[in-house]
């Protein structure tokens, strides 16, 4: 299995950008470009709430940890979990300073509602894979909390999802290594993209610069 150096770790949350659009991911993570739109600002507010407005807490059978830093050596990524819940369970793992055994559940807060695309589920699965590596445990499921519907959706972290995460990170590392930003492919999703003004998806439909120059300068020579 590949082992990544810490300095080569990529941002875990990038997987949602990557699965949305390779170019968007490259613009953010390779070119370090960022533009806020209404969606990103909403997202920030929701995450701030999940991280800061509440403290870590213990209930009878649950320990809730907020803003936990996580990483994975084999994926080469690090990031943060909005919430990790530890539920008391007989088939769980022991935790330092806690009595009993616990099952581990990552929970990620998202704006909007459940989406058809895999982006959110992939991010959650990647978090689960980090936690498994760090805690030497097995995680079968986690939850996505959608702010608009104010409800948790269960995500089963199955082999198919894990495989996808794994392959995606390999692809991300390769692209990052080459510092390569893929060319524009205009799609419907471009309209929802906060980086539209930086990406210029219409570059795809314009003529070459040479043609443009010939056309504009040529007219004068008539």
């Amino acid at each position: 299995m590949t082992e990544y150096k810490e300095e080569d770790y990529l941002m875990l949350s990038g997987i949602q950008h990557f699965s949305f659009c390779r170019r968007q991911w490259a613009l953010i993570h390779i070119e370090k470009q960022w533009d806020e739109n209404v969606r990103t600002v909403e997202g920030n507010i929701i995450h701030q709430k999940a991280h800061n407005n509440m403290f870590d807490e213990k209930r009878k059978n649950i320990i809730i940890s907020r803003g936990m830093p996580i990483y994975s050596n084999s994926l080469g990524t690090s990031g943060e979990c909005d919430i990790v819940e530890f539920h008391k369970a007989d088939d769980g793992i022991n935790l330092v300073g806690e009595e009993g055994l616990y099952q581990v559940f990552p929970i990620e807060y998202k704006r909007g509602k459940e989406k058809e695309e895999d982006a959110d589920r992939l991010q959650l699965a990647a978090q689960a894979m980090c936690l498994e590596e760090m805690l030497s445990c097995q995680i079968k499921e986690g939850y996505l909390y959608y702010h608009e519907i104010r409800r948790r959706t269960k995500v089963i972290v199955d082999n198919e999802l894990r495989q996808k995460v794994y392959e995606m990170f390999i692809e991300m590392h390769q692209m990052f290594e080459r510092k390569y930003t893929p060319k524009v492919k205009r799609a419907k999703r471009c309209n929802a993209c906060s980086l539209k003004n930086i990406c210029l998806p219409q570059l795809n439909s314009v003529s070459t610069v040479q043609e443009y120059m010939n056309r504009m300068l040529g007219e004068d020579n008539e």
Binding site: E31, Q33, V209, L217, D220
Partner: protein, 343 residues
């Protein structure tokens, strides 16, 4: 397209700027004289010396709002610069191109083509619009020279040669600039370009407008992650925003010169709004400067269709779009740098 936001111009040198919540607060003599929400602003230009609070500077740097200080005569003094935008890979590629004569020439050639093309079309527009009022023969003649110049620029093989062609085209263009002044002719005359200091009112207006334009170009380049100080045609010189000057070349005539002509021809400004120093330097009165800035703001909001992207944008967005296209060329997304060609 990116939203065109406003630039806040502070023309009173006694104004002190500070941050309150999400607002910039303007104070004079300890009294609040103005308050503007910052989410509508993408730049602040302060002409004066009273200062700005560090908290406002920090906020501007973080939110990518450009904050520029000019002297009262409009000379550039300083700008607040936060963390570098964009990534070092882009900048390194820019530096590589800047060090490579052939690659620099390729970009510079297109920029200068843009410059000459646009100044030619400023003349052509005047010919078309005012054929009853002026001797179009002389304009026609100069326009033809510029057409020929465009052809030779395409053949240029060295930067010095290109600079020579550019200089000649500029002097031909400015030789008929006075012809395009159609109103207040006895009070606004243009002989030739002079800058340090401007020796007539037209030059004072041109210099001031160029300062406004160059600060737009500079922040546009910084926004897209390019280094405004490393140019392709203008050579490096400490403290000189060479790339901003490069980018500005193609926009001078269409954005700045036409704007100055409009100010005079539409009698938006008057000769009484200027005064002359003992040494001949011509300086604008505060009120005139305000009028110019106000008109500049509305000019920036006028819409055009970008000739390359074919998308409707405001004039004020043109420097940003050109900077973005330049960055995209440097990254290899485009086969060449497409200059802004207007007619």
């Amino acid at each position: 397209m990116k939203r065109l936001l406003n630039t806040l111009y502070i023309s009173n040198p006694e104004s002190y700027l500070s941050l309150d919540g999400e607002n910039v607060v303007v104070r004079r003599d300890e009294k609040e004289v103005g308050r503007v929400p910052l989410h509508n602003i993408d730049g602040i230009v302060s002409m004066g010396f009273a200062g700005t609070s560090p908290r406002l500077m920090g906020y501007c740097a973080e939110k990518n709002i450009s904050l520029t200080f000019l002297s009262t005569s409009g000379r550039f003094l300083a700008t607040i610069c936060g963390e570098s935008k964009g990534n070092v890979i882009l900048r390194k590629e820019q530096y590589r191109i800047s060090d490579n004569k052939e690659q620099s020439l390729r970009i510079a050639k297109n920029m200068i083509l843009g410059k000459v093309y646009n100044s030619k079309w400023v003349l052509e527009r005047t010919i078309r619009d005012y054929s009853l009022r002026l001797n179009t023969e002389i304009l026609k003649e100069k326009s033809e020279y510029l057409t020929a110049s465009i052809k030779s620029i395409q053949q240029a093989t060295a930067m010095d040669q290109l600079r020579g062609m550019e200089g000649e085209a500029a002097s031909v263009y400015f030789s008929v600039f006075d012809t395009m002044i159609l109103q207040q002719k006895d009070k606004f005359q243009f002989d030739k370009r002079n800058r340090r200091p401007p020796l007539d009112k037209v030059n004072a207006l041109l210099s001031f407008t160029y300062t406004l334009l160059v600060s737009m170009c500079k922040s546009a380049l910084e926004t897209v992650g390019l280094d405004a100080y490393v140019g392709f045609m203008h050579t490096d010189r400490p403290g000189r925003a060479s790339l901003a000057l490069d980018l500005m070349e193609e926009l001078r005539s269409v954005l700045a010169d036409r704007f100055v002509l409009t100010l005079i021809n539409k009698k938006m400004i008057h000769a009484s709004g200027f005064y002359q120093k003992e040494n001949g330097a011509v300086i604008m009165e505060d009120e005139t400067r305000k009028t110019v800035i106000f008109a500049w703001q509305s000019k920036k909001q006028e819409e055009i269709v970008h000739p390359f992207l074919k998308e409707k944008i405001e004039w004020g967005m043109v420097p940003y779009v050109q900077a973005l296209l330049l960055a995209r060329y440097v990254r290899g997304d485009l086969d060449a740098y497409p200059p802004f060609l207007w007619k």
